[in-house]
Amino acid sequence: MNTAFAELHIDHVSRAFGEHIALRELDLTIKGGEFVALLGPSGCGKSTALNCLAGLLPLTGGQILMDGKRVDTLPPEKRGFGMVFQNYALFPHMSVRRNVAFGLSMRKVARTERERRVDEALRLVQLTDHAAKFPAQLSGGQQQRVAIARAIVLEPRLVLMDEPLSNLDAALRLEMRSEIRRLHQTLGLTTVYVTHDQEEALALADRLVVLRDGLVQQIGSPEEVYAHPANRYVAGFMGYRNLLPVAMSTSDTVTGEGFTLSGVNRDGLTEGAAVAAFRPTDVTVADTEGENTVRAAVEIVEYHGREQAVEARLPGGEALHVRTESRLAPGDEVLFHVPRERVLVFAP
C-alpha cells in the first residue's frame, strides 16, 4: 500500500511561532531504511521538526520532497507516515485491538486482512494477551508498545517517534530501545526518532542530527558525532562535561588559570579565548607532574559502583569532572592527567 521511498529530502524547512523561530532551515536527506535520530536539549525544536514532517504543523519556510514529489502540501492523513507520540495518545475509549486496527479501518482494509495484520502487529510487540484491555488498564511500557503497534501496523513508509521512551523507567527504557531497533530492522522501516538522550541516540541511530536553538549543529554517524563533535555544544552534549575556558598559547596548547594543556585544535584557532573539552572518563589520577597534568582539590565524591564520579575544584575555581576507579575523598589535593589526544580545543 505505502510504497517505500528511496529518498526523503527535507529542504531548508523552517518553522516560526510568531517572532520565535523554533526550527531554522533544517536541510536533511533521509534514505529509505535509515534510522535517523534528532538529538538536542529541551526546547531546541525537535518536536517542531517532527510535527512539520508529520504535517501536524504547517511550515513557514522550505519544502519536503519525497523522491522529488512534494509532500509538505499534503494533510497528515494523506502522508502515510506513522507517528508515535510522546504521551502515546492512545484512544482511551477503544480497546487495544481497536486502537491498533484504527488506521486499517480508516484505510478501508477488508476485515479478514485487518484482523490478520492486527494480530501480527500485536504479536510483534508481545501484546497478544492484552488485546481486549483498554489503555487505562495497561502499564506505561505496554501503552508504549500499543502506540508503536498502532503506528507500524500500517507499514508506513516513514515512522516518526517523539521521545517515545521518556516516560519509562530505566530498565524498561533499555528493553524498549532494543525492541524499537529490532522492529526497525525486521520490518525494514525508515525511522526518524527524536530524543534528548545522547546515549539512546547513539545506540539506535544510523545517523544523528544534533540541534540547538532550532539550528543544526552537526549531522553524522554516531561514531563521527561521538568522537569528533563539530563544536563545543555538540561536545557538551556528547559527554564532554569538562568545558574549561582557556586562552590559546600556541596552535595546540592552551592555558587556563593554573594549568596548561595540549590538545587537538578543532577550530583552527591561533590566539584568544577558547574552550578545552574532555570527558570525565578520560581523566586519570597521575603520580608525577608532567605534560597535561592539573592539580585540583576534590570536593564531591559520588559512588557509582566500580567507579567514582568526582567533582574537583581547579585553581581558577572551575569544576573538573572526573570518573575514576581510584578511591578519592573530599579534601584530597590530587594531580590529574588527560591524554592530549582526548582534549579538544574549540572556539568559545
Binding site: A89, A136, N167
Partner: protein, 297 residues
C-alpha cells in the same frame, strides 16, 4: 510467655481510614444550608401535596391531576418545549464549540458576549423578545422595510417561547461543551490524523465519543432550565394554550386558586418528570466510555 494480641488500632485511626476525621466539620455549613434552604422546603411541599385542600384521600390531588386533561396535558406541553430546546442547544453548541476549541484571538471577548444572556435572566430576555418581535418591533420593521406588506404575527407563539429558551440556554450549553471539549487531549486527534482519518472521521470516531458523556450532562442541565420555563411561556407564549407549561399550571393552582396543596402536587410531578428524563439520559451515558478525557502520560 504471653502472646499479646495485635493491638486494635484506635477508634480515631479506624475512622480516619474510612475518611471520617475532623475535616468533615468543614461540611457543616454546607449541610446546614442544604437542609434549611433545600431539603426542608422540598419535604414541606411534598407533605403538603398529600393533604388535599378539600380533605379526602392523600392521593386525591394526584388523581385529580392525572384525570383532568387540562392539567395532565401540561406534561406533554412542557416536554414538547423543553426537549427540543435542550436538543437544539446541545446540537448547535457542538459544531460551534468544535470550531472554536483551539486558542484564538478574541476568545475571551466571545465568551463574555455569550455569558451576557445568562446574566440577563429569563424575564428580561422574554420582555426584550416580545418588543423585538412585536408587530411594531424591529424585526417586523426591517421586514416591512424590505418590502413586506403586513407585519408577521410572531408573538405570542410556541416558536417565540422556544426561541427565548434557546437564547438563554444556548450560551450555557456552549460554554459547557467548550470546556468539555478542551478537556480532550488534542494529540488524540493528531494521532487519528496520522492514522489516515480526515476531520470528519476524527470527529466521528474520536472527539464525539469522548465528548458524549459531557453532552449528556449538558443536555440534562439545559433541559432542566427549559423544563421549569415560566416567564417566557407567559410573556411571549400562549399561557392558556400551546405553551401552558407545568409551572404555569402550578402557579395558577397555588396563587390564582389559592390551592397550595395542588400547587405542590404539580411541582412534585414536575420534579418526577424531570428526574425520569435525566435518569434516562444518565442511563444511556453510563453505557459510554467515561474515563479521563485525554491521554495518560
Amino acid at each position: 510467655m504471653t502472646v499479646t494480641a495485635p493491638e486494635r488500632p484506635s477508634l480515631k485511626h479506624r475512622l480516619a481510614e474510612r475518611g471520617v476525621d475532623r475535616t468533615l466539620l468543614l461540611l457543616v455549613p454546607g449541610v446546614l444550608f442544604v437542609v434549611l434552604l433545600f431539603a426542608y422546603p422540598v419535604l414541606y411541599g411534598l407533605q403538603l401535596s398529600f393533604q388535599p385542600a378539600e380533605g379526602g384521600s392523600p392521593f386525591a390531588n394526584y388523581s385529580t391531576f392525572f384525570s383532568d386533561p387540562y392539567l395532565a396535558d401540561t406534561i406533554w406541553t412542557t416536554l414538547r418545549l423543553a426537549i427540543p430546546a435542550a436538543l437544539i442547544n446541545v446540537l448547535a453548541s457542538i459544531p460551534i464549540a468544535y470550531r472554536l476549541r483551539g486558542r484564538f484571538r478574541g476568545k475571551r471577548f466571545l465568551t463574555t458576549i455569550l455569558v451576557v444572556p445568562i446574566t440577563l435572566g429569563t424575564v428580561l430576555t422574554a420582555e426584550g423578545l416580545k418588543q423585538y418581535l412585536s408587530p411594531v418591533g424591529w424585526f417586523n420593521r426591517i421586514l416591512m422595510a424590505l418590502g413586506m406588506d403586513e407585519p408577521m404575527r410572531l408573538v405570542p407563539s410556541w416558536t417565540a417561547v422556544l426561541f427565548s429558551l434557546i437564547i438563554t440556554g444556548f450560551p450555557f450549553a456552549f460554554l459547557l461543551t467548550l470546556s468539555y471539549l478542551s478537556g480532550i487531549d488534542p494529540t488524540l486527534e493528531q494521532a487519528a490524523a496520522t492514522l489516515g482519518a480526515d476531520w470528519r472521521r476524527r470527529f466521528r470516531y474520536i472527539t464525539l465519543p469522548l465528548l458524549a458523556p459531557g453532552l449528556a450532562i449538558t443536555f440534562c442541565l439545559t433541559f432542566v432550565l427549559a423544563f421549569s420555563v415560566f416567564p417566557s411561556a407567559y410573556l411571549v407564549g400562549l399561557p392558556q394554550g400551546e405553551t401552558r407549561v407545568m409551572s404555569i399550571a402550578a402557579y395558577e393552582a397555588a396563587f390564582r386558586d389559592g390551592d397550595y396543596p395542588m400547587g405542590s402536587t404539580i411541582a412534585v410531578i414536575m420534579a418526577v418528570v424531570m428526574l425520569v428524563v435525566i435518569a434516562l439520559v444518565l442511563a444511556w451515558r453510563s453505557r459510554l466510555y467515561r474515563g479521563a478525557t485525554g491521554g495518560k502520560g
